[in-house]
């Protein structure tokens, strides 16, 4: 036999044996760890008087990861207090920081103040919305005001009306990045209407405002109305029988009032 081939063969055999030996070693190590864990668990159970297999909230598996078993799960807590930032205090903080050239801190304080004002605007608008729409009642727990305090996504106000399987979701967005998309629809003649029966959107007017109504078999009706320069109100109706019913629901909202509260012209 060629001595070179013999040498290569021997090296390969040694490598294979090495790999097998390593695998065997790791198996032995794993088994030893499992046995040690079991012994420890047994001791701990004897001390705490828990004769069951596992303590509540702990991992009852064989314990390939020894740390996952020792963490209790959270069963509840007070959550976070959602108090809007104090506008007056933040304006004072901004002034103080500004006077000492702390522009970064001044900026943060102004953002917090703006967040506070936006939350107040949002809550004011929520109060002005109708309690019921087309026999659907408002869902208090779904009322939501979201503000980033820095303009881009701006202020978003959400309200939900529900009865059985019929639902109307209302979203009012101010300083919204979505505005440009909707305005393209409204301004661009290229989005012409079709007459072949596959029309799934069209332009309409809601209380004198230009709007777009869309229909989708799975999600239902969607009505978008830009108000003023940078605000948009969207209604999403699930299980509404017809376009007319959807428009009637939208007509119960005081669009001029919302526009005024948002400071739009």
């Amino acid at each position: 036999m060629n001595p070179k081939t013999l040498l290569v063969g021997m090296v390969c055999t040694l490598l294979c044996l090495g790999t097998q030996a390593q695998g065997l070693l790791s198996k032995v190590k794993q088994k030893a760890e499992q046995a040690a864990e079991k012994a420890l668990d047994k001791k701990a159970n004897q001390k705490t008087g828990n004769t069951g297999g596992s303590s509540p909230g702990t991992d009852s598996g064989s314990g390939s990861s020894s740390s996952s078993g020792s963490h209790p799960t959270n069963k509840g807590g007070g959550g976070l207090v959602t108090t809007p930032p104090d506008v007056k205090q933040n304006l004072t903080d901004a002034e103080t920081a500004f006077k000492t050239n702390g522009y970064g801190d001044a900026r943060y304080a102004v953002q917090q103040a703006m967040l506070g004002v936006e939350m107040e605007i949002g809550n004011k608008i929520l109060k002005s919305l109708p309690e019921t729409v087309s026999a659907l009642k408002k869902q208090d727990e779904a009322d939501k005001v979201t503000s980033t305090g820095w303009g881009w996504v701006g202020l978003t106000i959400e309200r939900q009306y529900l009865k059985d399987d019929k639902e109307l979701r209302t979203t009012i967005a101010n300083n919204s990045a979505w505005m440009s998309a909707v305005n393209v629809y409204l301004a661009n003649g290229g989005y012409a209407q079709q007459t072949n029966g596959e029309q799934n959107w069209k332009q309409i007017k809601v209380k004198g405002y230009r709007a777009i109504i869309e229909y989708d078999e799975s999600s239902g009706y969607k009505l978008s109305v830009p108000i003023g320069q940078s605000s948009l109100i969207i209604w999403q109706g699930v299980n509404f029988a017809s376009e007319q019913e959807m428009i009637a629901a939208a007509n119960t909202f005081d669009l001029d009032g919302i526009k005024k509260t948002l400071g739009e012209k």
Binding site: V87, G104, V110, M114, V117, G151, W152, T261, L262, G263
Partner: protein, 198 residues
């Protein structure tokens, strides 16, 4: 010297003007909020943010070196742009002329930050196999260095991007070496800029 004095005076006058604007807008915000006019209070606060952004931009500009090697800053091109919201403040300065010129751009609230941080956190993505992209450290901050060979001139340029929280510092040179761009970038006090824009 005369030119420099005029520039200094103009800068000081601009700073004073912005400080006045801030105080004026602060007073308007307080009055509007006190009278329950929330929308006008909000508008005044947006103006305050603009004023602050410009002032922060000017302060950051002062931190940038006056020279990079032999390349002097083209102060007439210094620019601070504020777009409240989407991209925040964009601070621009360039040094020298021609293909050796250095472009420095600092953008707060940059939309690229998330993707750059993702690249930086996964080492095998940050360093590409073909050598066009690698992760380097500038003033202790992890940065992405990208090589770009111009197919027409055959010159090798580099772009260095350093994320500082939500701010992105980009340095671009059309014709340079990796060692040179890293050395020049190290003359920018990134830690001080990070403190200023945070």
């Amino acid at each position: 010297m005369k030119k420099f004095s005029i520039f200094l005076l103009a800068t000081l006058a601009f700073g004073a003007l912005k400080a006045q604007d801030f105080s004026k807008n602060l007073a308007s915000a307080r009055t509007a909020y006190g009278s329950g006019d929330l929308e006008n209070a909000r508008f005044s606060m947006q103006q305050m943010l603009n004023d602050l952004d410009i002032m922060i931009g000017k302060e950051v500009m002062k931190l940038l070196p006056a020279k990079m090697d032999a390349l002097a800053a083209n102060t007439k091109n210094d620019n601070v742009t504020v777009n409240t919201g989407l991209t925040g403040v964009v601070i621009h300065r360039d040094y020298g002329t021609g293909d050796k010129a250095v472009d420095v751009e600092i953008m707060s609230n940059s939309p690229l930050i998330a993707s750059l941080n993702a690249i930086l956190s996964i080492p095998f993505i940050g360093n590409s196999g073909d050598g066009t992209q690698k992760v380097v450290k500038i003033d202790g901050y992890k940065s992405i260095l990208q090589k770009d060979v111009n197919s027409e001139t055959n010159k090798t340029g580099y772009t260095l991007q350093t994320p500082l929280n939500s701010t992105l510092v980009t340095i671009k040179i059309e014709n340079t070496t990796e060692a040179d761009i890293v050395r020049l970038a190290n003359t920018i006090p990134l830690s001080d800029i990070a403190k200023m824009v945070q």
